[in-house]
Symmetry: C2
Subunit: 493 residues, 2 copies
Amino acid sequence: MAKELKELTPREENYSQWYNDLVVKAGLAENSAVRGCMVIKPYGYAIWEKMQSVLDGMFKATGHQNAYFPLFIPKSFFSREAAHVEGFAKECAVVTHYRLKNAPEGGVVVDPDARLEEELIVRPTSETIIWNTYKNWIQSYRDLPILCNQWANVVRWEMRTRLFLRTAEFLWQEGHTAHATEAEAIEEAQKMIKVYADFAEKYMALPVIVGHKSENERFAGAVDTYTIEAMMQDGKALQSGTSHFLGQNFAKAFDVQFATKEGTLDYVWATSWGVSTRLMGALIMAHSDNNGLVLPPALAPIQVVMIPIYKGEEELAKMTEELEKIAAPLRAKGISVKVDNRDNVRSGFKFAEYELKGVPVRLVMGPRDLSNGTIELMRRDTLVKESVSVEGIVENVEAILADMQTSIFEKAKAHRDDMITKVDTWEEFKEVLETKGGFIYAHWDGTTETELAIKEATKATLRCIPLDSPEEDGVCVFSGKPSKRRVIFAKNY
Amino acid sequence: MAKELKELTPREENYSQWYNDLVVKAGLAENSAVRGCMVIKPYGYAIWEKMQSVLDGMFKATGHQNAYFPLFIPKSFFSREAAHVEGFAKECAVVTHYRLKNAPEGGVVVDPDARLEEELIVRPTSETIIWNTYKNWIQSYRDLPILCNQWANVVRWEMRTRLFLRTAEFLWQEGHTAHATEAEAIEEAQKMIKVYADFAEKYMALPVIVGHKSENERFAGAVDTYTIEAMMQDGKALQSGTSHFLGQNFAKAFDVQFATKEGTLDYVWATSWGVSTRLMGALIMAHSDNNGLVLPPALAPIQVVMIPIYKGEEELAKMTEELEKIAAPLRAKGISVKVDNRDNVRSGFKFAEYELKGVPVRLVMGPRDLSNGTIELMRRDTLVKESVSVEGIVENVEAILADMQTSIFEKAKAHRDDMITKVDTWEEFKEVLETKGGFIYAHWDGTTETELAIKEATKATLRCIPLDSPEEDGVCVFSGKPSKRRVIFAKNY
């Protein structure tokens, strides 16, 4: 059974299958009976809860409050903002009826008499319903800013789905803010993309490039979209969070005006920003190996697992007592510890299971350890084992958890940095993309035409225009036209 | 403006309008553009978050884990459990299409080519999709028990809606557990109704009667339903949480069998249990008065508000500094404190606002206080003001918060106890119901026929058969047939 557990498709062999095996076998998520919708299993949900808890704290620390808006949006709302309807109202779940009735042949059928006058859309994103609500909340500059966030489920009818990365229903948070001035709204959009970047780097141990989206890749209805882009182990990029400066587009679409300090009327300025369960996909793909998940300690539901090696019930009882004694001061430090003293499961199976689940530190105690005052410590990122003294174990484990958090980030960063290639010719562009992959840092002439031609030719998309990309004179790698700064292209999830 | 804020319809005059005014004016929730769906505003959501956080801790302490299951349920799943389809699959939101397209005349229309083969129901409750999932998780007794909970939104197409009490979409948690034995499942269902009762009494300060539902009022698909019933200030009952022993009904409907320890095959035993945003309605209606909300300190987002009375900017700055000095040690004790030093809002308006929002303790500092080392303290439940010394304020506030939590409960309990009337004749039953209301504690012959006849005649429903109702010989108040114990009738929300 230990063998069966470990049977992940090797990452080198088939990255995509390796990912899917890992998600399912580590008990993170699985496909459901409903096309494109996933079940998030308890272990996967526990990681998501940790992410939520940290992010929620960061949102509150930056002055935001949570609220909740309806799941359904009247169809007509989508037509109000021209770009938005193009981007969102197409592939979505449409509620047309509100009643079933018994079928004469058994079972139930939709009651044709219970047809809605106006169809309802299951929210793919909530700008429209929220701005329709904000209209009643905002009269004067005194009502601004409004800084709301909601944790919710959304639905986008995707044809090709992959667990966490692209599902019809997913969980996310969406911040929606309203401001009196353009400058304040832009500042908010930038602040939140930095919150996301901080979260990715400090908690997920995931280095990201922060940048603007091109006009073509912008959110439907946004004036400017900021993004964080991460690099996966297979050289493909993963967009991990976005923050949008929406200008006055939604205020105009829903007629939300306010009395300014100066006594004039003006439309309200807006932002929206979100991250989703897609972050789970990024976390898994960025760090894991052929033995299973590698979780940064900051997001690991179990940070330390303790396993006894024993013969007979008496020794098990003694070991358990000893392990609980070691666990207590660790728990007092806020470290989550699991003592796995199941008697009906072989140790080899337990080892494989916790490697698969990415538990950062494993402590194993055998009979000799018991008499020597030692314990075997293995860290999940390096799989290196060492015998350590039980005395001082708390400081030791604390130091290792802190070191792992940094090491996992440094490893991902070294890989990411290695995967940024500066290219100056179209031949080089194509060759690097095919042989090495990763982020291609190249000059672009700034037109959607060129961007789409590159995508057509190579499947590489313009991931972002990095905020820190310096001005330099160059020529577009595709069109040869002048360019003022390099941008990032990559194949992506 | 202070006047406008305070303008709640008096409770005595129109209880229902008072409730609605309160929910809207205290900024808890409002109706949305979607029929029957509410917007939960930041202050209301902050109370709900506190409830969630406490309940989630209680669920985890009793061994449960969170997970997430799909929003949509294939229509055919509902037909599998005969009683369940009758109870749930009728008034619900039905998704029939997955795409919109541009209309020639502008706007968007449902694309007739994108009709789903099988319609999807927006979950009104998740037993069916979860048991269809559990089928794959359970092979042997070693896989049991499964103790999952999910925090989610659900939709029931209600015709008459009221904020928090009855809305088409609402937020809730639903626990779904799977067990190897009948005894263990019954124990789980009982354990969780006790968790709910504990939560209601200790955190919501809401005394509840714990009992069984009659067969007629049972959850659709349950073998036994446990309920907690609370008494509102107007003498009407409010069902506040239920826990169901589902027997093997869903296991049989979804063919979930397991290999027992003894090597035989058996169907799995189930429970489900839930509380929802309806608890917000109970909390509001149980304690509040004509000045606004009265919140038990344990669930108040702001526990202490501090307001300076001052003249001029200089004094305001000095006062703010002083108030922050007092706030610091309170916050260090985990008490949430807001210092409201807004200069553009009159103190009278602030007073009214925090009374409306039910902030438990108000501290007001005027110029004389500043020199005397005193502060004016008002507690929200009694509205009694006293001048207290700043020295020792932390202990004082802590003691008052603790006392308020108890007092609010005791007051609600005294009212509830007063509203339980033992009646022995049908005339008395009708008279008490009309003149006094409340819980009527009477003998009942145990038949659905009598239960429905009583409801038909008086609108009173059988709220529950209390767990602690002693055996005693009596005759049914309606039919005169023999009865072994008294049950609780009431008009209800």
